[in-house]
C-alpha cells in the first residue's frame, strides 16, 4: 500500500474499534430480557383454586 493508504488504514482502525465497542455495549444494554416463565408455581395455583 502507498504511504497515504497505510496512514488512512491505521487511523481508521484506531478510531473504529472503540466506536464498535460502544455500539455493541449499548446494543447489549438495551437488549430486551428473555421472557419470564409464565407458568405459575403449583402452590399458587392450588391456593387460587
Amino acid at each position: 500500500m502507498k504511504r497515504q493508504h497505510r496512514r488512512r488504514h491505521l487511523i481508521t482502525w484506531i478510531i473504529l474499534p472503540p466506536v464498535l465497542a460502544v455500539i455493541l455495549w449499548l446494543a447489549i444494554q438495551v437488549r430486551p430480557d428473555p421472557p419470564l416463565n409464565e407458568t405459575l408455581p403449583p402452590s399458587l395455583v392450588e391456593a387460587a383454586s
Binding site: 502507498k2 493508504h5 482502525w13 474499534p17 455493541l24 449499548l26 446494543a27 447489549i28 437488549r31 430486551p32
Partner: protein, 349 residues
C-alpha cells in the same frame, strides 16, 4: 472511456476457487434452511421468506467478516495468500448475498403497503432518537450502497480508469460498511434473537477484525527505515538476512517503501508499490524469475522493474551495492522501467 487495462487473468486456480466458494455458499444456505425447518428455535416459527432473510443476512455478515480478516492474516501466513488473490470474487459474492437479503426484507416487510418500498424503509420507523427501536434497516441500506459501489467498480477497467490511488481510497469504504453492518446487526437482529450465540458471534467477529487490522497496521508502521550513511546510501542488512526469492522492505524518510530482493546470488531493489492496486511487492516472492505481487499476481522483472510482455507496467528500480557482505540501497529512485544491474553476492566490490 477507453483507457487500456490488463485484467487479472482468470486462471484455472481462480475458477476452482470460485467453484468451491459457490459450493460453500450453497451448502451454508441449505444447512441453515434445513436446520430452521427441521429444528426451529423453541417457541418460534418462521415463514420460508423469513428463514431466507436470516440465512442470507447471517451469511453476508460472516463472509464480510472473513473477507476483512484475509488481508491481515495473509501478512502473517502464506496459507492465506490464495484468499487474498481471490478476495474480489468473495467481495462481489458477499454483495450479491447482501442484495438478496435486502430484496427479501423489502419484499416481506415493506412490500405490502401503498408506499414505495424505499420510502417505507426510511419512513415507517422514525425512531432515530431511540436506541432500542432504532430503524436499523437504514444502516444496512447505506452499507449495501457502499458495497454496491465497490462491487460495480471491482473490475480492473475501473482500477485503470480511476487510478490505483482513487480506486484504493474508494474500496477502503469497506471499513465504513463493516462498521454500519455491525451497528445494523447490533440494533437489529441482536435485539430480537434470543440465542446468545448471535451476540457471541457478533462481538467475537468485530473483536477479531479490529485486533487483526490494528495489529498489522501498527506492525507495518514500525518497518525499519535503515541506517542512512554517507552519500545517501541506506544500510539494508547482511546478504544472509534476505531469504532467497524474498525481500526486505525499507521505509526511507518521506518516500515510498523500497523492496530489496534476493534472487540466488543477485540483489536488486525495486519500488514496494505494485502499479496495479498498490500491493506490497516486498511481501511477494520471485516466481519464474519475476517479482510477483501477493495481491493479484502482477509480475515485474527485478533488473528493470518492467512487467514481462505483453504487459506494460513499470515501477522504479534503485541502485544497490554490497560491501563486506552488507547490502546498501540508494533511496533515489530511477525512472520507472530503468535497467539497473543487480549486485552480485560474492563478487569483488
Amino acid at each position: 472511456m477507453s483507457h487500456g487495462y490488463n485484467a487479472v487473468g482468470w486462471t484455472p486456480f481462480k475458477k476452482r476457487f470460485d467453484r468451491w466458494m459457490l459450493a460453500g455458499v450453497g451448502l451454508y444456505l441449505i444447512v441453515f434452511v434445513a436446520a430452521s425447518v427441521l429444528a426451529p428455535p423453541a417457541g418460534e416459527s418462521f415463514t420460508p421468506i423469513q428463514i431466507l432473510i436470516r440465512a442470507t443476512g447471517t451469511l453476508a455478515f460472516l463472509l464480510l467478516t472473513f473477507i476483512l480478516c484475509i488481508g491481515p492474516v495473509a501478512r502473517m501466513t502464506d496459507r492465506f495468500k490464495p484468499f487474498l488473490f481471490n478476495r474480489r470474487h468473495l467481495g462481489v459474492t458477499t454483495f450479491l448475498i447482501g442484495l438478496a437479503h435486502a430484496g427479501l426484507v423489502l419484499l416481506w416487510y415493506h412490500g405490502f403497503s401503498d408506499l414505495n418500498v424505499l420510502v417505507s424503509l426510511f419512513a415507517s420507523n422514525p425512531r432515530y432518537d431511540s436506541l432500542a427501536g432504532f430503524p436499523f434497516e437504514s444502516l444496512g441500506f447505506v452499507a449495501l450502497l457502499i458495497m454496491l459501489i465497490m462491487a460495480t467498480t471491482s473490475h480492473d477497467f475501473w482500477n485503470a480508469n480511476l487510478g490505483p490511488g482513487v480506486w484504493k481510497t474508494l474500496h477502503m469504504g469497506v471499513y465504513l460498511a463493516y462498521g454500519l453492518l455491525v451497528a445494523h446487526v447490533a440494533l437489529g437482529a441482536i435485539q430480537f434473537e434470543k440465542h446468545p450465540a448471535y451476540v457471541a458471534l457478533l462481538v467475537a467477529g468485530a473483536a477479531i477484525v479490529s485486533f487483526l487490522h490494528l495489529y498489522t497496521a501498527l506492525a507495518g508502521s514500525r518497518i525499519d527505515g535503515g541506517t542512512i550513511l554517507n552519500a545517501g546510501w541506506i544500510r539494508v542488512g547482511a546478504t544472509a538476512d534476505i531469504p532467497d526469492g524474498r525481500a526486505l522492505i525499507l521505509q526511507p524518510e518521506n518516500a515510498e517503501r523500497i523492496a530489496v530482493f534476493r534472487d540466488g546470488n543477485k540483489i536488486a531493489a525495486i519500488s514496494n508499490v505494485c502499479r496495479h492496486q498498490g500491493g506490497p511487492l516486498g511481501e511477494g516472492r520471485i516466481i519464474d524469475g519475476c517479482v510477483t505481487c501477493p495481491w493479484h499476481g502482477f509480475q515485474y522483472r527485478l533488473e528493470d522493474g518492467r512487467s514481462p510482455a505483453p504487459f506494460t507496467e513499470k515501477i522504479s528500480t534503485y541502485p544497490t551495492k554490497i560491501e563486506n557482505g552488507v547490502v546498501f540501497v540508494n533511496p533515489e529512485p530511477n525512472p520507472p522501467g530503468t535497467e539497473e544491474a543487480p549486485s552480485l553476492i560474492g563478487a569483488k566490490s
